[in-house]
Structure formats: C-alpha cells, structure tokens
C-alpha cells in the first residue's frame, strides 16, 4: 500500500509583499504529485498547541521540475502571525497539494479578476497558460496594498489595476473595469475570479450576462482540509427538492465552475 505523505518542507525564501502580506518559497522535493494552479496546502503554524488547527494557504506559484512552491498569505490571526515569523532554513509541516485545480485551456482568451489576497492563486494559473491571451484585473484597497504588480505584468498580455480609493490605477472597483471591457465587446472565453465574496458575485453575474464560462475560487474556515470534518460547507446546486446541497470547499473546491454555486 502506498499513502499520501505529510511533508516537511524546507523554507528557501521569505518575502514581505506588503505590511501584512508574505510569501514563503519552499522546497517540495518529496512531493510525488505535481502541484496544479488553484490548489492549496494545509500548513501547521507554530509548535504543539500554540495554534491547534492547520491553516489553509494559497499556492501562488510552483515549479514541478525545480521542485519549489511559493505560498502566500495575509496575517489574519494568530496562526498566520506565527507563519509570518518563518525564516529561511525553517521546516514547514505541510499537507497537500489539496483541492481542485483551475481549468487550463490550450489556447484562447482568458481573463482573471482578483481582489486583495485573492490574487495569489491566479498568478500560478496565468503562468501555466502562456499560449492563451491573458487579461488581468487586480483590485486593491489603496496604493500601499498593491503587490505583485510586476509578477502579474510578466504573465499577462494586458494588466489593469484598480484601487478602492483611487490612489493607484483605476479609481473604483475592479469589477467596473471588467464590465467596461465586456460592454466594449472584449469577451474572453473564460473568466477566473478569486477574492472578496461580493467581488466574485459581481464577476459571476457579469459572466452570466455575457455568456462566459467562469470559475471561482472559494474560501471558508476549515478543519481537516481533506474532506472528513465537513466544516467548510458551501451551497452547491442540486436537483433535489431544495435545489441545493452542502458541498465542501476543501474537497469540491476551492476552484469550482460558477454555475454549480447556489446563490441564496
């Protein structure tokens, strides 16, 4: 019998992307499955009982040949606060890669719409789709919270940045830029979105309006991360009486086609 492994991964690099946003590059030499865009890992933060549960962390980049992976996160609480103290040479206790991956077409026009720390999984997706024409829409709170602009520019044919307060790029919500482009007749084949629920909900509405296939990357508080504890529930469409059932973000997602999500 062979089993999926728990991984002890050596930290190669730690980068502070903004005041409270960090990326950690790790060695994944002992991973025996490739890491795919959209997936996540469940990371033990701190020792012993300091923080009990693992934290689900986005995969921002990976190189399955060089065997490296970059995780990115914002400090949201005690777990991520401890994770932000990670130093080069430290060992991270990781379960993964977990969850579903983004749809990766061979060609065509794609658009990604990311908000804040929701942009991370979209970077690895864009990087894996060099033969597509890639349009990127990123939204941030203000100029100081803009990060990875250069990285995204390198993997996009066109990049649009918006800030809520107008201190950098477009003044307003990122969804307004997407809407304007769709209205002008620039319709992509697929839209991918990750970020605040409200933003994703507008993106999905626009995608439906223009008949564009759309994938969303969902988030929910998790326990085990592997589909056993059932805490990270999300409403998915069903042909039962109520029209929905409770799926789980860690197993049915995080990436899911928007037409499977039950609204309401």
């Amino acid at each position: 019998m062979s089993f999926d492994k728990l991984h002890d991964c050596k930290v190669i690099d730690v980068i502070k992307l903004s005041e409270d946003v960090f990326s950690i590059k790790i060695d994944i030499s002992d991973f025996d499955v490739p890491v795919r865009p959209g997936q996540f890992v469940n990371v033990k933060c701190g020792r012993g009982l300091e923080t009990l549960l693992r934290r689900p962390i986005s995969i921002c980049d990976a190189d399955n040949e060089q065997k490296t992976m970059t995780l990115a996160f914002q400090i949201r609480g005690k777990g991520t606060e401890i994770l932000a103290l990670t130093k080069i040479g430290d060992i991270l206790d990781i379960i993964g890669p977990l969850g579903t991956e983004f749809y990766q077409p061979d060609s065509g026009n794609i658009a990604v719409v990311g908000g804040g720390i929701g942009i991370f999984p979209l970077y690895y997706l864009l990087k894996e789709l060099p033969s597509c024409t890639r349009k990127t829409y990123l939204g941030f709170r203000n100029k100081d919270s803009v990060f990875m602009e250069e990285d995204f520019t390198n993997v996009s044919e066109k990049i649009n940045i918006a800030t809520d307060d107008g201190s950098y790029g477009y003044d307003g919500f990122v969804t307004a830029m997407l809407k304007a482009d769709l209205e002008a007749g620039n319709i992509p084949d697929v839209i991918y979105t990750c970020g605040p629920v409200q933003m994703m909900s507008i993106v999905v509405k626009l995608a439906n309006e223009y008949g564009v296939k759309c994938q969303v990357s969902m988030e929910e508080r998790m326990g085990c991360g592997i589909g056993a504890c059932l805490v990270c529930s999300c409403k998915l469409k069903s042909d039962n009486e109520s029209g929905w059932y409770n799926g789980h973000v860690c197993k049915d997602g995080p990436v899911i086609w928007s037409d499977r999500v039950f609204e309401g």
């Binding site: 009990l52 508080r221 326990g223 504890c229 059932l230 529930s233």
Partner: protein
C-alpha cells in the same frame, strides 16, 4: 505485549478508536494511513434521512481547542450501509455506527435497520449539541437516556454504547440511567457547549451561534468525568476528550476507561490515532505492563 481489548463483545486489536465526526467514514484518512492499524472507527453521526447540516462558518479555533457546529451533516443510514460500509469492511477494524435521531421511535427504527447491517456496535448519540431537536434533548435527562437506550437495546443485538454529553449536572446519574436502560458500555465525553465572539463584528463566529468545544482544552474535564462514571457504573467505558498522545490516552485508561477515542487530533495529524496507539505501547513497555487491561482503572487517589 497484549494491546487487544474485548469490551462487552467488541473485540479490537488495540484500544484506539477514531471518534465520530472527526474521521468521516474513513475514506479520507485511508489515503494517509493504514486503517488496519486502528482499533476501530466510530463513523460520522448517522440519521434516518440525509441531513445537510448547519450554515458556515461551522468552526472556530479557541485556546487549545476548537468549537464546531456541523449539525450532523450525513448521507443517512441507508446510504451509509450501501455506499460506505463495504469500503470500511475491507479493513480489519471495529466499525461502530454513531446513531442520532429526533424521536425514540426513530432511534428504534435505526437500531432495527443497523441490526441487519454488518457493523460491530452502535454508539448511541444522545449528546450532539448542534441540532435543534432530538438527540441531546434526551441526553440531558436520566429518564430520556434510559428510555432511548431501552428502545434501541430491544432492536439491536450487538454491543450498544451510549455516548454522554458533559453538559449535565451529574454525569454519574446519566451513566447510571444508561446502564439501567440496558447499555453494554458508555462512551464520553461529547463536546462541551461553547461560544466564541468576533469582537469587531460583535457577533458569534459560528453561524449557529454556539458549538461544541473539543481538543486538548477539554481533556481534564473529560478525565474527571470518566473517573466519576467509572465509580458510578459496572459497564465498561470508552473515554475521549482532547487526546493527542499516548500519554493522554493512558490518563483515560487509568481513570477507568477500557478504550479511548481520538477526535480533534486527527485534523492536525492524520496519523494521530496510530501515534496514540504506539504511545500506549511505549508506556506499557516503560512501565512493564504485559496486558493493557492491567492499566484500566489503575488510578490511586491521593486521599
């Protein structure tokens, strides 16, 4: 060294059982560990019909523990028997069906269905704090516990364990009620009812407002209650509550439990049950125990 136990007919190669609600039906953990190394599994709480459970968020971490409010999401007892049981049966481990219901009649109906299924025991769930009707409403009164236990025992011929809630004034009274109702054994504790608040939103973190506290934070409460129950009844006890290591498990054995369940620890380390079983063996060899049953109830009070 003998680590095998026989608890009122429930035979297991070691005393470590994966606790209900933390291990699904074994499939997910079967990818990470050899399920043959477990003494048993108590499957996700079953109801007669499928249940969708509560709204999210269903989990909140607290100091040394977690609050959960899943609300018994499960595919129903029939789907369990048809879809999940055949998978679990491929492994050499005891299969315990955790059973929850709204009414005494419904408990009895499930017992009848499960009496014909290839399971090894029932763990009667009268202690889930996260559903609005049935279940724990029976578990907080001696009369309710005795009534449900009797109804299930009538229909189910294999070992019957009653899982107690700690949210009562006298755990000993509840245990005696289960014994009087015909239970073959008792398992405890289920989670402690709790609440965590998001101080900026000024709302509870859990969508259901309250949830059940589990994890290392509750272990001392659980050990005390296991000890109290062991002095209140003659039937065997399965102890649980915050076990993450072999040493933790030994505390429960010394307090009077014949076997243990490991729950929350599985979320942190999928191999937690296996490590707890190994840790018990380490203790046995260090303390020169040849048989695990010699540890059970070995506690001496200070006065």
């Amino acid at each position: 060294m003998n680590t095998a136990v026989n608890i009122c007919g429930l035979i297991m190669k070691n005393p470590v059982i994966a606790a209900s609600g933390t291990f699904g039906f074994g499939r997910e953990y079967g990818k990470y560990i050899d399920l043959n190394k477990l003494g048993g599994i108590s499957v996700k709480g079953l109801t007669l019909k499928p249940r969708q459970g509560n709204a999210a968020p269903r989990i909140a971490e607290t100091a040394g523990g977690i609050l959960n409010s899943v609300g018994l999401q499960n595919p129903g007892v029939y789907a369990f028997i048809k879809e999940e049981l055949p998978y679990l049966r491929k492994y050499n481990l005891a299969i315990i069906a955790n059973v929850a219901a709204n009414t005494v009649e419904e408990y009895a109906e499930m017992a009848e269905i499960l009496n014909d299924a290839d399971i090894d025991a029932i763990e009667l769930n009268v202690s889930c704090p996260n559903v609005k009707s049935g279940c724990v409403t029976f578990g907080v009164s001696a009369h309710g516990i005795a009534e449900v236990t009797r109804a299930v025992k009538n229909k189910f011929k294999k070992p019957l364990f009653v899982k107690l809630t700690p949210n009562v004034t006298s755990i000993g009274d509840m245990a005696r009620a289960a014994e009087a109702g015909g239970a073959d054994g008792i398992s405890l504790i289920n989670t402690i009812l709790g609440m965590a608040i998001d101080i900026y939103k000024k709302r509870p973190i859990l969508a259901n407002n309250t949830g059940g506290l589990s994890g290392p934070a509750i272990k001392p409460v659980a050990v005390r209650m296991v000890y109290e129950v062991s002095k209140s009844v003659k039937i065997p006890i399965i102890g649980m509550g915050g076990i993450t290591t072999g040493e933790d498990a030994v505390e429960f054995l010394l307090a009077g439990a014949s076997a243990v369940m490991v729950g929350t620890a599985n979320f942190i380390d999928p191999a937690a049950c296996v490590k707890v079983a190994q840790g018990i063996e380490t203790y046995m060899s260090r303390m020169s125990y040849n048989d695990i049953s010699d540890i059970v109830g070995g506690l001496t009070l200070n006065y």
